[in-house]
Symmetry: C2
Subunit: 431 residues, 2 copies
Amino acid sequence: MNMKQLSTEPYKGTRDFYPADMRLQNYIFSTMRSVTEKYGYQEYTASIIEETDLYRAKTGEEIVGEQTYSFTDRGDRDITLRPEMTPTVARMVANKRRKLVFPVRWYSIPNCFRYERPQRGRLREFWQLNVDILGVDNIFADSEVIDMAYRIMTTFGADPNSFIIKINNRKLMNELYADILRLDDDQSHRLSKLIDKKNKMTSDEFEKESQAIITTSYDVFKKFIQINTVESLSNMFPNSPAAREVIEVMNILKTNGITNTAFDPTLMRGFDYYTGVVFEVFDTHPTNNRAMFGGGRYDNLVDLFGVESVPAFGFGMGDVTMQDYLETYNLVPNLTSTRDLTLCTLDESSVVFAMNLAAELRKQSIAVAVDYSNRKIGNKIKSAEKDGSQYVICIGEEELKNGTYVIKNLAESSEEKVMGIEGVIERIKTK
Amino acid sequence: MNMKQLSTEPYKGTRDFYPADMRLQNYIFSTMRSVTEKYGYQEYTASIIEETDLYRAKTGEEIVGEQTYSFTDRGDRDITLRPEMTPTVARMVANKRRKLVFPVRWYSIPNCFRYERPQRGRLREFWQLNVDILGVDNIFADSEVIDMAYRIMTTFGADPNSFIIKINNRKLMNELYADILRLDDDQSHRLSKLIDKKNKMTSDEFEKESQAIITTSYDVFKKFIQINTVESLSNMFPNSPAAREVIEVMNILKTNGITNTAFDPTLMRGFDYYTGVVFEVFDTHPTNNRAMFGGGRYDNLVDLFGVESVPAFGFGMGDVTMQDYLETYNLVPNLTSTRDLTLCTLDESSVVFAMNLAAELRKQSIAVAVDYSNRKIGNKIKSAEKDGSQYVICIGEEELKNGTYVIKNLAESSEEKVMGIEGVIERIKTK
């Protein structure tokens, strides 16, 4: 027996979800689900444990080297708690490559782990809606998925003025790196990482560090990095298919009423596996301007498993960020308990009667609990109210004898006398 | 870049849930939820990572010593992937002891990990409905929770003749050990473990090993272990409150129509933390007779955290066992895709039109996907059917021009021509 006092706190960077927290989490998840299912996406999931090799190839050095929960199991396998879901999707699609119906439209809301210093909007454990379409390599797929990200935001009640969808294209960056700046792979990789950190540096620092990498056409790079309209993108890259993809995606979104989009040449996305259009949704709140979530095209991830290539586009939307956003903009609805009724017994001889009554009411889909605890009736009624029960009925000798019940509506502080179980059902069902 | 070919298999003992698997899993979970919520239980959850200390005290030697996924994080904390949920419930209740409204009625469907040899009905990762009532130490709570376990079974369509609820009481065992057999703590513990394994031994082996522990009144033990009716229990323990508890729980269940119950003196349950009534639901199938799930009273678990004692009763019901059971008895319903309609484009110039039409249909809560992949129309229709889409509309030049659509009902192989988007909505909504 361990005599040291145990901590009652959750593990650092994780959360306990008490019923009120769970209701909010369930609200967030069910809103995400309702939108993705309307787009014809089907839910899938997998284990949180994956073999570590899955992440070594493409997830990115920072995450695998410093942020994964990796360990060795009792059978000497190297395993990792997934830091993200995309490698799992690619693995599952590769596994059933010949049996699946393409295009595959899938979604999942897995939890993921990253070993980080917990801070606002970032925890060690988070849940993340993952939406992916696999088997289509055109910009309609890109547009559909970005459209869906927008609809999830507005379904949560977000004002389209409160966020902006920034778009870039990895192919465009590759054109710039190879054809204009004449960088090799290593230089390109270093420049990408630098651009990714641009907003965290001063202009001078960024200029100095980028000049250290770029030796040819630095002026073109400087002009590129400042593009902030579709017109200037088009002017600078009149014949680039990559630039055209960005512009067409924005045009398709516009036909569906989505105009809060912008080309952003500094948008990189952290993962190494992106190959085409990438996007990020930014909160435009003046004091909280930041990237909330994003995604992009990854056409070469399924190949890693030695099967034919499967083009793909997807995004991940985290619960922690979304909850922060909803709270910042007062978008959390009033979420009530699922309990309709509490039967409070006045004495021990009424308990079995109350339990039988509860059983009958449940057959009518009424959510009912019996409070047979050994406490005063006033305390039982208070508990029922705190628990979010909408109605209370006290059950004692008289109720057993007469079969009449007084229903208290706790929300309205009103009372009504009804006859028999039918009266109770009618009263609650017509609320 | 890792050049070794990556495995597409899930980690040993875990499962990938493709959409069809996920629908079954969601069906199992939503059935569990619907019943527990009707009893007024509220959902909670917590992280799968807990500090290892949480399990050292009471989970039981076999699990902690040999079966946990325990490791050290990058900050040198000893952490474990939860092998069960009950210690977490106790921790969470202890943490908010002063703020919670008692009785606490909670449920959760967490995943848990145990390092075991995967076999039928047993995997390394499983999900488990956990139902707990805390703050009530009477047999009404015991009865309510066992009642709920029964209702979950019947809501799944289980015939009450296909399972039996076996009941015992740890207090009765303690009376037997201390007052009659005069065993000390160590002997009692060894005898409990032996009884737990009784069904895996021959009668002779069991007799030999139990005689090695019991030195006084072995004949009483032998008689006890053979009790199989409430009458003989009552005759053997006429004045025992523990025996009365078992009998009363069975009587209360009977008033609610639950008669497939039996006292079982060999029912032990694995965890060390049980203190009173324990129960197990057994599948009575002739070729698959086995314990499916169970639970019991644990009044001393919350104390471990140095707070006032909170009596509790709960059970855990695993998804793997439940799925086996449903399949054995042909109780899995026909679970269909959530997609209503697929719009198949005939050419690229119809795609944006189809995407806009889809957007309008989604506003009417119709789940619709657009197939704009670069394939023949016949293949697109086949894919829609395989994906479980109920309807298909082909969109080409004519549809753009005339605004009339031919809706194919894939399930019925019928077609119907409708006018405009209103026609489409009406046809699908009145299916």
